[in-house]
């Protein structure tokens, strides 16, 4: 269906794709994997007409193609579902689906009735139950993702490209999505599937292509390859163990919380965090994990909650008070509410701790901050090792390392990390995990929210499973209570 031959692409002097060749057949799901920066997105964008290649050929459906615009690719039958949702919350599902391809009445105006019907047809074909007249904003993220897929295939796509479609979905929603993908495969569509979650690939993909640093590493049948091999191909080396060892010793309680509620999102959550352990928060998206932690620091106004830090009851009126007491929350939304993108690495590291770099007259000393930043750059292996580099120019993994450095500079007593490795490449991932473990060992209470099942299992000593805004189970790793089944079992309704 699609034959990509020796496609190269450079941004300015930086070669991001180097003579990549691969093909996708009709009726197959072809996975595309690689670390961040391996060139996956660039490749997808070239196939989808968003970027133009420098050299090489692309043959689609028997014809050589050269798309100058996403619309041309769409017209040819190539449809891309991007990682970020591209729907407009204020418009209906049907209008979103038929944007730029509106059905018209004789007067040239939009024929809403026809569009609604057509949308319903697509949903029926795919087997999704969504009201075409609902406003997109009223749907869950998972539903919106399905609308995206429906939108993509509604153009009579022959090739469907899904860029990390599962990153913000719950397990149940992922199942739903995979069911749809399987259906489409049966209908003869070619599907390119990009994901960081290897377990998913094995579940859904027929073949997998690995990219590394813009080069093609290999294409293989998924049935003929093991997870470890894939990882080796992606990073070019064997990762000894994927996760750091569990806690050596678990000490006394650092922080505890009771009666934590946020009206409409969290109800009556209570937990303790002990020295030396990593507490994992598992659950489906929307189960209230992030909401609970934001309510804890009162970033969103909570309705109740009592907190004890190192045995003393404390008040937390706003995030700045939490910070002052050493309670740090790192957001899952790294770019929107974690980092200051156009500022330097050093400025970001010192954002929570400006006062540390001021003398007793309140005079700020940038040199002190730079010195401190260089320590973090070394410790966290931030690349490029330049404290004046702007954070927006860093890769996702390095951005995340800057975010952790910012938190560490506070000398936290309790670190709450929301999705520490979302959108992060494998190398950075294990470094982040190692640092979190070190932190826990040094006596800091560590709480990790992760939607990635292996991560939350591999990293945590204890797991709280969230469901419906509350804690539905507490699983101890030491006691062997932790398993995927146990988590899912407590995360969903039966």
């Amino acid at each position: 269906m699609l034959q990509v031959t020796a496609v190269s692409k450079s941004f300015f002097s930086n070669k991001v794709l180097d003579a990549v060749t691969f093909d996708v057949r009709a009726g197959e799901v072809h996975a595309l994997v690689g670390e961040n920066g391996a060139g996956k997105s660039t490749l997808i964008n070239i196939i989808g007409g968003i970027l133009q290649r420098d050299s090489g050929t692309i043959v689609f459906d028997g014809k050589e193609v050269d798309f100058g615009h996403p619309l041309q690719a769409m017209g040819a039958g190539i449809s891309v579902v991007h990682q970020e949702l591209s729907l407009v919350p204020n418009a209906t599902v049907a209008e979103n689906m038929f944007l730029r391809r509106e059905k018209r009445t004789a007067l040239g105006l939009n024929d809403w009735r026809a569009m609604t019907r057509a949308a319903a047809d697509v949903f029926e074909r795919v087997g999704i139950d969504i009201d075409p007249n609902a406003l997109v904003g009223s749907l869950s993220v998972g539903m919106q993702q399905l609308v995206e897929v429906a939108k993509a295939i509604s153009i009579d796509a022959k090739l469907l490209i899904l860029d990390e479609p599962t990153s913000s979905l719950s397990e149940k929603e992922i199942d739903e999505l995979f069911k749809v993908i399987n259906d489409l495969r049966r209908q003869g569509l070619a599907i390119i599937f990009v994901s960081h979650k290897l377990s998913e690939l094995f579940k859904i993909a027929d073949r997998v292509t690995v990219l590394r640093d813009g080069h093609l590493v290999a294409t293989a049948e998924t049935s003929a390859i093991k997870s470890e091999d894939l990882i080796r191909m992606m990073v070019g080396r064997q990762l000894g163990t994927l996760y750091p060892p569990h806690a050596s010793a678990i000490g006394d309680v650092v922080f505890s919380c009771k009666e934590l509620s946020r009206f409409g999102a969290v109800s009556d959550v209570a937990f303790d965090v002990r020295r030396g352990e990593i507490l994992g928060l598992a659950g489906l998206v929307g189960a209230g994990r992030t909401e609970a932690m934001r309510a804890l620091i009162n970033a969103d106004e909570r309705s109740s909650g009592r907190f004890w830090l190192e045995g003393d009851e404390i008040q937390i009126h706003d995030p700045s008070e939490a910070l002052a007491r050493g309670i740090v929350y790192l957001s899952e939304d790294r770019k929107g509410s974690g980092l200051f993108l156009s500022y330097s690495v050093a400025e970001n590291i010192g954002a929570s701790t400006l006062d540390h770099y001021a003398d007793r007259f309140g005079v700020f000393h940038f040199s002190a901050l730079r010195k401190r930043s260089r320590e973090f750059i070394a410790k966290m292996d931030i690349r490029p090792p330049d404290e004046t580099a702007r954070v927006m120019n860093l890769s996702g993994g390095n951005q995340q390392k800057v975010l952790i450095s910012k938190a560490l500079d506070v000398n936290p007593k309790l670190l709450i990390f929301d999705e520490p490795t979302r959108g992060v490449d494998v190398g950075a991932k294990s470094l982040i995990h190692a640092r979190l473990r070190e932190l826990a060992e040094s006596g800091v209470g560590v709480v990790v929210i992760s939607s990635e099942m292996p991560e939350v299992i591999g990293l945590s000593d204890r797991i709280l499973v969230f469901r419906n805004g509350g804690v539905s189970a507490e699983l101890m790793n030491r006691k062997g209570e932790v398993s995927q089944e146990a988590i899912i079992n407590n995360a969903v309704y039966h």
Partner: protein, 340 residues
């Protein structure tokens, strides 16, 4: 790409290289100012470079300068203050009316300050606490403050002949600096203006409280989660802006010896133009007091040059707009080039 970005210090952002060298934008602005200066000196060697003329240019731009600093401060926190000119008028009118009614100078000054800060506080609370767009809030305030000033005065000049002489004199006072043969008279307004530029500039780079403004403007939510008191700082920014507006009102009222409801009409446009030219951005998180100073200076030199070179007075008013468009254009081209 990465290394390039690391090597392009942009001092409009607090990357810490501000004192290492001027940013390229400010360097460009200095060059433009020098170029205008040289051209005018060559074309009008008799009139332009005299101390009297330069003194007048520099001291008379102080009013615009202080307002532009106020604008820069709110731009840094991703705000905008369209009410600066009106609040200036209202503060001036308040002080003048009280002085005419034989209130003591401190009382009048404090009342003026109170009125200005009240306007600033209202702006700040509506923006920072209630969460309304700054553009709309200050647009409303612009109308209200000017309206009240007009209602209070019915448009008359408010003079205060009985006020203590020192108040009516200090706005025009000149310090005599010996220069060998005679004296340079250096106006107090100029000294105050330059001092405030230096002080605010230093505070913004070296005082943590003001440095935090940049974080608020760059990403409000990230700043909040980083423990920065966003609401408080937003309100503080509008209060600080109001303070600068009050400085202007005091100087202007003293210098002209009248309070007037039509002071500062169009001042917000000039201030915005100067601040943007100087490196501030409507997207927040950027802004540089020294850049703003250079922007105001440029507008002042252009205005002075216009008269010096007998420009057609009809075209004078188009100059601010053209400067703004050209500055934005040059900046866009520069950013575009940087991106490559």
């Amino acid at each position: 790409m990465m290394t390039h970005a690391a090597n392009s210090p942009d001092a409009t952002k607090p990357t810490g290289r501000r004192f290492a060298a001027l940013s390229s934008r400010q360097f460009l602005l200095v060059l433009i100012n020098v170029a205008i200066f040289l051209v005018l000196t060559i074309l009008r060697p008799d009139a332009f470079p005299s101390w009297t003329n330069l003194k007048a240019v520099l001291s008379l731009m102080s009013y615009d300068l202080l307002i532009a600093i106020a604008m820069t401060i709110v731009l840094i926190v991703r705000g905008i203050d369209l009410s600066v000119g009106s609040v200036l008028a209202l503060a001036s009118v308040t002080m003048a009316l009280l002085l005419r009614a034989d209130a003591s100078v401190p009382v009048a000054l404090l009342a003026g300050l109170g009125v200005a800060l009240l306007c600033g506080l209202t702006n700040g609370l509506l923006v920072g606490v209630v969460g309304i767009l700054p553009f709309l809030v200050t647009l409303g305030m612009m109308s209200v403050a000017r309206g009240i000033a007009t209602v209070l005065t019915t448009g008359q000049y408010i003079s205060f002949p009985n006020a203590p002489a020192w108040f009516t004199l200090f706005g025009r006072y000149e310090l005599q600096i010996p220069n060998g043969s005679g004296f340079y008279g250096v106006p107090v307004t100029l000294i105050i203006g330059l001092t405030l530029v230096v002080v605010t500039s230093l505070l913004f780079s070296r005082w943590t409280a003001l440095r935090s403004f940049f974080f608020v403007g760059e990403s409000t939510e990230a700043a909040r989660l980083s423990g920065i008191k966003v609401t408080r700082l937003t309100v503080a920014a509008y209060l600080l802006a109001a303070l600068f507006v009050w400085f202007t009102a005091v100087l202007l009222t003293s210098a002209n010896k009248i309070g007037y409801a039509n002071y500062g009409i169009g001042a917000e446009m000039r201030a915005l133009a100067a601040a943007v030219v100087g490196g501030a951005s409507l997207a927040g998180g950027a802004g540089n007091i020294f850049g703003t100073f250079l922007g105001v200076l440029m507008l002042a030199l252009i205005g002075n040059g216009f008269v010096m070179l007998n420009g057609n007075p009809n075209w004078q008013q188009a100059s601010v707009g053209i400067v703004l468009l050209v500055a934005v254009g040059v900046d866009a081209l520069r950013t575009y080039r940087d991106r490559r």
